[in-house]
Amino acid sequence: MSTPSNTVPGSPLESHVIAPAVIPATRRMYWSVRRELWENRSLYLAPLAVAALILVASLIGTIHLPGKLHDPSLDPAQQQELIEQPYTFAALLLMFTTFVVGVFYCVDALQGERRDRSILFWKSLPVSDLMTVLSKASIPFVVLPLVTFAVTVVTQGIMLLLGSARLLGSGQSATLWTHVSLFQMSVMLLYHLVAVHALWWAPLWGWLLLVSAWARRAAFLWVTLPLLAIGILEKIAFNTSHFAAMLEYRFLGGPEGVASSGNGISMASLTPANPGHFLTSPGLWIGLAFAAACLAAAVRLRHYREPI
């Protein structure tokens, strides 16, 4: 679509006389990320398919909506929670989908190109190993959070429209808008995606990409086995389970400042309440340092690796 402007049209034989300018790194990065999206269409198709299912389900769910709004046994706070719940569930389901897609993507990202030997083609182009690894890392760190955000906000918006249409159809005014604050939910969602999916889980993405660059086969086994082995060896050697506790803290406990909520799940209960506290917590920075080390190792491995 965009031919380099520095080539001379119509005179291919003379074009090599003119030394063309270097393509800026941002442009090479842009095309490298687009390349990933061409190859892995599930990165956006999977969340879109799940969003379609959510909309079908929520269309059915609107049948009970007028009843929920006028249940006298509920106080306003409970009512609010009850009405917001489907929106939260939609966001959770979409986040779960892109998380799974992200895991599968990362495990294959640097192994697949060696398996199908296409690495020889990619390496014949002036794109460094660093840029290749960064473009692949940008998928879980940047692209997937953005895709999740966009799909979730649009899905929730349509859910709200469906609900409002149902209320209007049953002769009630669209009071749903006062119960569901789409804007507030979106801001919270974006904050959650950046803080937890991109930053807090950074070591996971780094580790997956490192294993993908290293393993010749059975990458999923290599992702889990070393972690299991460390846990078991620690138990045998010291009869402690700090490593297991650390993993649990990272992936089940959630980041610093997350209040383990009593009843009901909301986006707020899954996200660090105090951003300042979160950003200065050593846990976050240790995780980011580990992720950076993994990516650096992956760059180096890609330099050495040959087709499998």
């Binding site: 095309w31 199908d116 390496k123 182009l125």
Partner: protein, 291 residues
């Protein structure tokens, strides 16, 4: 400045020595055929030149160290390493978009005009193309890149003879000029013989023969010796002797043409025959040394 310059290039995989101290110099504007049996070290040598594998010794390609500067080097170097390395999921249009997006010397219009001569459709995925078409696509991409050095490692492996001939014809007619350098390895030596300006034989990680084609044509002669002259011909110390059509065929290095013409029919040997002669002398010498 030489296009490729290597001194004492070494590479071992465990205990197997793939490159055993190679010295090599390829000047600009040459078409070099690198010929050797399987496992001789051809691909390893090319991989070192392309920055795909680490090595010991000195190596400069276009004045750069390929191992540490691969991405910069690839602005001026192109390669088709093996067949079928184009990703199978990519569409033809996407391949064009991507290379245009990352390569400063890619002329998209040129690639499009090559593709227009083929049956390849823009919307096809690589996996939907035949093997020959994939090779055509790869060649179209590579020829549209204004590179100083083109490296081809078995570029026509597994293609039928029509595609192979077409491949080398377009390479020569549409691509090659005196400012470019091409290094090619292939098993179908006889098909590229007329294309080459230089030929190099590699065996067991060593370069055992390195001549320009003019030298080959002026120095080496093959004689189909008349039966009664065989003893006289053998006295002239042929490099190699083989039987063909019931006659002895003897290959000579730097023996006067007039003198040979008296012994039988004289002709320039094919690269393939020369290769067999050089390599069998090699293994003979090796066995002699062992005894």
């Amino acid at each position: 400045m030489a296009c490729i310059e290597a001194r004492g290039l070494r590479k071992a995989f465990g205990t197997t020595i793939a490159l055993d101290g190679i010295d090599l110099r390829v000047e600009e504007g040459r078409i070099l055929g690198l010929i050797g049996p399987n496992g001789a070290g051809k691909t390893t040598a090319l991989n070192a030149i392309l920055g795909l594998t680490p090595y010991r010794g000195e190596l400069q390609v276009l004045g750069r160290d390929p191992w540490t500067e691969r991405d910069q080097l690839m602005r001026d170097v192109c390669f088709i390493a093996d067949v079928a390395v184009l990703p199978r999921w990519i569409r033809v249009s996407q391949a064009l978009d991507y290379v245009a997006g990352v390569h400063p010397r890619f002329d998209r219009a040129k690639a499009e005009s090559f593709l227009a001569k083929t049956a390849i459709r823009r919307a096809s995925k690589v996996r939907e193309l035949s093997k020959g078409m994939v090779a055509q696509l790869h060649l179209a991409l590579v020829m549209a890149i204004d590179a100083k050095l083109l490296v081809l490692d078995e570029p026509t492996l597994g293609l039928d003879i029509l595609y192979r001939k077409q491949f080398y014809d377009s390479l020569l007619n549409d691509y090659f000029d005196r400012s470019r350098t091409i290094v090619v390895t292939t098993h179908q030596v006889e098909e590229i013989q007329h294309v080459l300006t230089d030929v190099m034989f590699i065996n067991r990680g060593r370069i055992v023969f390195d001549r320009s084609m003019e030298e080959v044509e002026s120095r080496y002669l093959e004689v189909m010796v008349h039966p009664e002259q065989v003893a006289a011909a053998r006295a002239l110390k042929p490099m190699h002797e083989r039987q063909g059509l019931g006659r002895s065929i003897l290959l000579f290095d730097a023996v006067d043409r007039q003198q040979l013409a008296a012994l039988g029919d004289v002709r320039t040997p094919s690269i393939a025959d020369l290769f067999v002669a050089v390599l069998s002398n090699q293994s003979g010498a090796a066995q002699g040394g062992a005894r």
